[in-house]
Symmetry: C2
Subunit: 283 residues, 2 copies
Amino acid sequence: MNRANTFWTGEETPMGTTSKALTLLDYFTISRPQIGLSDLARLSGANKATCYRLMSELMEHGLVEQVAGSKEYRIGPAVLRLAALREATVPTREAALPLLQALAVATGETAHMSHLVAGQLVTLSYAYPAAHGMRVMMEDADRLPFHSTSSGHAVMGWLPADTVAQILAGPLPAPAGLVQITASDLADRIARARATGWASTANTFEADVSSFAVPLFDAQGQVQGALAVAVAGPRLTEAAEQTIPRQLIAAARAIMALWGGQIPPELSALWRITEQPTEKVQG
Amino acid sequence: MNRANTFWTGEETPMGTTSKALTLLDYFTISRPQIGLSDLARLSGANKATCYRLMSELMEHGLVEQVAGSKEYRIGPAVLRLAALREATVPTREAALPLLQALAVATGETAHMSHLVAGQLVTLSYAYPAAHGMRVMMEDADRLPFHSTSSGHAVMGWLPADTVAQILAGPLPAPAGLVQITASDLADRIARARATGWASTANTFEADVSSFAVPLFDAQGQVQGALAVAVAGPRLTEAAEQTIPRQLIAAARAIMALWGGQIPPELSALWRITEQPTEKVQG
DNA sequence: TCCCGTTGGTTTATTATTTGAACCGATGGT
DNA sequence: ACCATCGGTTCAAATAATAAACCAACGGGA
């Protein structure tokens, strides 16, 4: 009797064929938008033939397509239909966008919103304060690491303990030239995020960038993502450190009002205390 | 020995598991955005257990999610990441949108662009001429029938013959109270679309709506979709019938210039003849 | 309150599908 | 002319998917 196919993930629980196919999609990122067959097989650890068949099936449905010349694969047009359908069903993105823009203007910094999807934190919208000037740049569809971003900390503060443990079980990537976060430091930060209702980091994800974040909840009171402001290092004044969390809270409240999101009572109390007289962010 | 599993599609070619899972996604539409397990099993003809497992796998990856109260499934947030990635890789939608808007304004009617994805024609962008007034309404992520829309005719005119045959092999749905298109009529319309470079229909898809369409091509000269203008019946003057095809052609040219789309020489010649002195649609 | 049909979800042996190593022809660099 | 690599294919061996029956829970209707 042979071993179960642990080649793929190293897990012992067998992985459904569909999951394997969908896992392949995860290798496509902003920085690697096109992948050839052999590369993909190497990246995923799957057999080339397997990879080929799975990609063929994904291609049949338009989830991926092959670029004409090189035969490399890339994300296909079908996802546009699905995304349009998703937004029509649950208008998270579009509804929140004006509020995100208002937040960017109010703070004078880059604002972004990330969503928790399949255990990962993905940036899905962002807004800049103005058309020009120095700013922290964002990219859509980028995955944020949980351990080195304020968004990650804010989210983990309100995630079930076992889910957090699962995330922390993964490796802590070591960012070159940045502030390194140790495991115990991280636990501390998560606890603080929960205790204060917001999180902040400095120079942990990108150099000379500080960021502040608050969690976002869905209608069932489950964490759904985070709202964050990324401040360009030189502009991080003491005043900014005071006001930004408040503005974040106000904006998060407004966004969740749109979604029908439920703020956990515990957090709601924290936010009531923190949110001193400050003008509301208006959409 | 049992028969191969022909239950699913009636086809004799066996269907990969991944395809079966992805097929389930097709049952989610604008008009039916949420589906319960039993319903989905009935709709798809799949076994309930099968359906359950497939949906579970899709759910693991965030392609679908369950709404909290009813346990019904709906399209999940992961598609947003994929769509953002797609647009970052191949900016079809966003790039064309301003031109689409210009076309709507120029014609004074609703303009829309549909894409060919996995053998289906899906509306992915549209633009209205003004904020108010009578207009033909569109919906994103809607599938257009090939046989009763000008977009369908325009596209089929430039599709390989066998692909067209495959499409026509399907049933011709009978729209209630509209002009019925017979099989021979349809063949005629497709031929005309190819011969003239554009297609038009009246009262075939929606009552009191006429529409005009031209095909769109990708960088390899393959039909990729259609650009169309839908005219509210009462406004369909003879002048409009003259100018709209020209405006469509101009806009299609502009859009394909953005994509690097290749117009087949045969069509290019047709369009050169048709496109008499008329002001270019400007993005 | 009892019934009955429905729901989402689970279990099982049976069955068909997926898998991986080897192989192919084409392509491109040296 | 060579070698390495590419995308794609083949086939027996091993695996995972399937379908029917079965739950418990829910929601009307009588």
